[in-house]
């Protein structure tokens, strides 16, 4: 197989791994490793990723620790993956990588219904956790990676769940963590630090080491392997079983009308739409507030390529939901709460000059699509019309700031079209923490060819460099991991700090280098 380069001590490493994990729980053959360096992003398509040399399946923290210790002994890199969803930076970029696949770590250790948390292993998907949560009147959100992705991994990377508007987003949803550091030591944080069976609280003791794990896009596997995590669950007034009718791909979902209500409200401009979002946040109502770009409406709604492009060419969404804001009210307390929130929302709509989207569009879109944003936010649908999608602008700060960001996004999209395909000025803005902050992202379809992607990636890198040099933090940058932090760290003053931390925990530079920041040898 192409690109398979063996370590000079391959056999020794294999023996060591087999001794630690058991025969059959580590493989190095062509067909196995071949399944671990693909992705939806450019690296494989552009020939930038290589297969791992070993794929190892530990069954818990101790076996994971053993793998990491072996990697330290042989100074060979490792990459941890959970569900290995989308494989953003977990496609190996250098030879001799041990890919740590958490497929044998799929247990839910505990769900504490009263105190609203769950303790999970890396393979537990958000859908599994949601199913268990719903039975207990609880809930957890799902980011665009969708609910079939690892709940642990989803907490370590971005995680801007739609319902984060009300319930908080992923970075704040983490409680105790059990974590194998790249140096092979086991670190437990929060209440796990004191008692490895008790993960209910996330901070401390004292300064909070969870800080190492995240940042906007997480550490890209550069700070070791999380093998257990306690996560928050939230009150949920919905049914114990997710309501779904019909058959794939045309399922519909309607949540109980006495506790949930959707609105799609149109505005004449982005600014007036954002004002609406601000007012909702101030009024402390709603469970979800999102201004989706028209391309999102289509991505999530269309059930075939033909349906996507025919609808797009007819401008069904472009002409009807531009600058529309989706709001889902949740009656946590009671149906009276829902009625109250409806009245308040309708007051705000009137005051801010909003107009409901037509009933036809509402009936077309909402039953089929809206509840995706509560249940699974299945971003895989973004691949449908052209094979892949990319983003070029992403920032989290105030809602007003997000407007500015997506507007510069329009300019860049125009500049990079082609190969960016028609996307009607993609401007996704989400409201979070009752409107305390907003998140703006510019996503667009691009045809999945090496030519288009190579061209675009080159342009995006130039744009990112330019941003950084202008002191502008573009949230897409961190998705590139080490390459970005090396550049941005100097400008925003964190390169030495991050290298100091990386050096302390990864002396042999083996945890998915060059993430989370490249180190000199």
């Amino acid at each position: 197989m192409e690109n398979m380069v063996r370590h000079e001590k391959h056999v020794e490493i294999m023996n060591a791994l087999e001794a630690a994990l058991g025969v059959g729980n580590v493989k190095d053959n062509a067909v196995t490793v071949n399944a671990y360096f693909g992705d939806w992003l450019p690296p494989k398509t552009l020939g930038q990723s290589v297969p791992p040399e070993f794929v190892a399946l530990p069954n818990g923290t101790l076996e994971t620790q053993a793998i990491v210790q072996i990697c330290n002994r042989f100074k060979t890199p490792f990459i941890p993956v959970g569900s290995n969803q989308w494989s953003l930076t977990s496609a190996p970029n250098r030879p001799h990588t041990v890919l740590i696949d958490c497929k044998r770590m799929g247990e839910i250790h505990e769900i504490d219904e009263n105190n609203m948390y769950a303790v999970i292993e890396p393979l537990v998907t958000l859908a599994q956790l949601q199913g268990e949560a719903y039975k207990r009147g609880l809930y957890i959100g799902s980011p665009e990676a969708s609910a079939q992705s690892s709940a642990v991994a989803g907490h370590l990377f971005q995680g801007m769940w739609g319902t984060g508007y009300r319930l908080g987003v992923a970075y704040r949803n983490i409680l105790g963590i059990e974590w194998v550091l790249p140096n092979g030591e086991i670190l437990r944080t929060g209440s796990f630090a004191q008692d490895a069976t008790c993960g209910f609280w996330g901070e401390g003791p004292g300064p909070d080491l969870r800080g190492m794990l995240r940042g906007y896009a997480g550490a890209m596997g550069g700070i070791g392997v999380v093998t257990k995590m306690a996560v928050k669950l939230h009150p949920y007034p919905g049914p114990k079983l997710w309501p779904a009718e019909g058959l794939i791909p045309n399922m519909t979902s309607t949540l109980p009308e006495d506790r949930f209500k959707w609105y799609i409200v149109k505005y004449d401009s982005l600014e007036t739409a954002i004002n609406f979002m601000y007012e909702i946040g101030k009024a402390e109502i709603a469970g979800l507030v999102q201004k989706w770009p028209t391309v999102y409406y289509n991505w999530w709604w269309a059930n075939s390529n033909e349906e996507y492009w025919e609808t797009w060419k007819k401008r069904v969404f472009q002409d009807n939901v531009k600058n529309a804001v989706g709001v889902c009210l949740w009656g946590f307390s009671s149906d009276e709460q829902l009625e109250y929130e409806k009245r308040v929302l309708e007051d705000i709509i009137e005051e801010t000059g909003g107009r409901m989207v037509s009933q036809e569009i509402f009936d077309m879109w909402v039953p089929r699509t809206a509840n995706n944003w509560i249940r699974d936010t299945n971003g895989s649908r973004m691949m449908r019309p052209s094979g892949t999608f990319l983003a070029l602008r992403l920032q989290t700060d105030t809602l007003d700031y997000s407007v500015g960001q997506v507007k510069t996004g329009y300019e860049w999209v125009d500049k990079f079209t082609p190969p960016i395909l028609d996307s009607d000025g993609p401007d996704w803005i989400g409201g979070y923490d009752f409107g305390h902050f907003g998140f703006g992202e510019t996503d667009f379809p691009v045809e999945k060819t090496a030519e288009a992607l190579g061209d675009l990636m080159g342009k995006l890198l130039v744009m990112t460099k330019e941003d950084v040099q202008n002191g502008l933090e573009n949230g897409v940058g961190p998705f590139l991991g080490g390459a970005y932090h090396a550049m941005a760290g100097e400008v925003f003053g964190y390169d030495k700090l991050l290298r100091g931390i990386k050096k302390a925990i990864d002396p042999n530079i083996i945890s998915n280098p060059p993430h989370n920041i490249p180190m000199e040898d």
Partner: protein
């Protein structure tokens, strides 16, 4: 050295007379006196930076202090050095009602802050009736629990500016990007801000901090629930929080509530007789729009929960007249003057506090009261405060051990009790997330790997260990 300090902050802002040094050597904790060699009062970030440079050059410890009063020993110089008194940096730099945040310097107190925010119909999320001299910035970064558990965030911290021990001036979150408005705390790179919370000034000196603010209600009602035990109040709070009822929500035992309410010793004695053992205090507040309608549905939900669990929420407890108005006044109007409620009738108290879950609160309280009684304290005068956190998923539980600070014997007795009880509680799983003073040793010897990692982190941020050395595990 004094001259160098004066060159940095100005002569008037360096104090090294004995009276001053003795003042800064002690606080309201049980820690023995620890005298600094000087006190420096910077007025700007630049001066803080120069102080840090000085400290690195001369290997002189710096001990940041922002509040005008201290209870846990965090600002006592364990290894000598200079106390950096930031109380003079007391500007409210920006109030942003649209994005509901405020940017404050370290010396801004709670009364000052709340009064300023009131003009904009906003309020910050304060802990339980803070001392008027307490720094709002310190409360926030030391993770003092908020009274309102309904917001999913447990701490209101947004981006900050911090002078690190290595001399670097660093801005966290989106404050690192001058184009942004400082509303989001993550990044740059990783979540550096988390390292600076609960750090007792050992990683850096914060010169400003953004925190979230929320709507200051114009319409609200205070409800009270009377309970015999904490065990009895846990389920009601679980259910109320699940139903998203209420703003402020906390539990005080008789002693704490009596201290809070009494104006005179006689009041205090009467309240101690009349108040129930535990009181749940809950404020049902209106939002900016249709406030009375929100109050109505929340109250209906509250009464439904009460009926289902066979308890009552009433307008008062213990027959105290005007209790709702009094409580609301105390919650909304922070006086800059007056006696501190916790020390009005007893000289001082030593607090033990930690995080646990509400279903274990009774267990720990039984232990605490048992230990108090064994130590010869009047168990009736041990304060108990339970603060539900984040929709009731956990709670801050606090015991206040009364203590006569003028009596050596009492101090010793309470000191021993404090140590023994803390040790026992932690062995039973109480989670001390804010390891002040002697707790640091108790906690950090149990969390060996965490401790090791913290030390490594300290080397990154403060390689010469000049920031508050001797605190935490440093």
């Amino acid at each position: 050295m004094i001259k160098e300090l004066k060159d940095i902050v100005g002569s008037k802002n360096v104090l090294d007379d004995q009276e001053t040094l003795e003042f800064y050597a002690v606080d309201h904790s049980l820690a023995s006196p620890k005298k600094p060699i000087a006190v420096a009062k910077p007025k700007s970030t630049e001066e803080i930076q120069e102080l840090v440079a000085f400290a690195n050059r001369t290997l002189t410890p710096l001990v940041p202090s922002s509040s005008g009063i201290h209870f846990y020993g965090a600002t006592l110089p364990e290894q000598g050095g200079v106390v950096v008194d930031l109380s003079g940096m007391n500007k409210i730099l920006e109030i942003d009602p649209r994005n509901r945040k405020v940017k404050i310097e370290p010396g801004v107190t709670w009364p000052q802050l709340q009064a300023a925010l009131k003009e904009h119909d906003q309020m910050a999320l304060n802990p339980l009736f803070p001392h008027p001299l307490t720094s709002a910035l310190t409360s926030s970064i030391e993770r003092e629990p908020m009274l309102i558990p309904k917001y999913e965030y447990g701490d209101p911290v947004l981006p900050m500016q911090i002078s690190l021990g290595n001399g670097q001036l660093f801005r966290t979150g989106t404050a690192s990007d001058a184009h942004c408005e400082g509303a989001y705390p993550e990044g740059p790179g990783i979540d550096f801000y988390r390292f600076f919370l609960g750090a007792q000034g050992t990683m850096g000196i914060v010169s400003w901090l953004n925190i979230k603010t929320e709507y200051r209600p114009k319409h609200q009602k205070v409800w009270f629930g009377a309970f015999e035990d904490l065990e009895d109040v846990a389920q009601p709070i679980y259910k109320l929080q699940r139903r998203h009822v209420g703003n402020e929500c906390f539990v005080l035992n008789r002693f704490m509530l009596a201290q809070l309410l009494a104006e005179t010793s006689e009041d205090f004695e009467t309240l101690m007789e009349d108040l129930p053992p535990y009181t749940l205090v809950m404020v049902v507040a209106g939002a900016p729009r249709r406030p009375l309608e929100r109050i109505a549905y929340e109250e209906e939900a509250m009464h439904e929960v009460a009926a289902s669990l066979n308890f009552e929420m009433t307008k008062t407890v213990g027959g105290v007249s005007g209790l709702g108005t009094t409580m609301l006044d105390k919650l909304r109007n922070f006086s800059e003057d007056g006696d501190y409620w916790k020390t009005k009738f007893k000289n001082t108290s030593q607090d033990i506090f930690f995080i646990t879950t509400m279903d274990r609160a009774q267990y720990y309280t039984d232990i605490a009261l048992g230990y108090a009684a064994s130590a010869g304290l009047n168990a009736q005068e041990v304060g108990v405060y339970m603060q539900p956190l984040e929709r009731g998923r956990a709670c801050h539980l606090s015991f206040s051990l009364p203590c006569d600070a003028t009596c050596e014997r009492d101090l010793a007795r309470v000191g021993d009790l404090h140590a023994d009880l803390s040790e026992r509680l932690i062995s039973e799983g109480a989670f001390f997330t804010r390891p002040y003073g002697p707790w640091a040793d108790i906690v950090y010897r149990r969390t060996t790997q965490y401790t090791k990692m913290l030390k490594e982190l300290k080397v990154v941020f403060d390689p010469n260990n000049i920031l508050n050395p001797g605190k935490l595990c440093h």
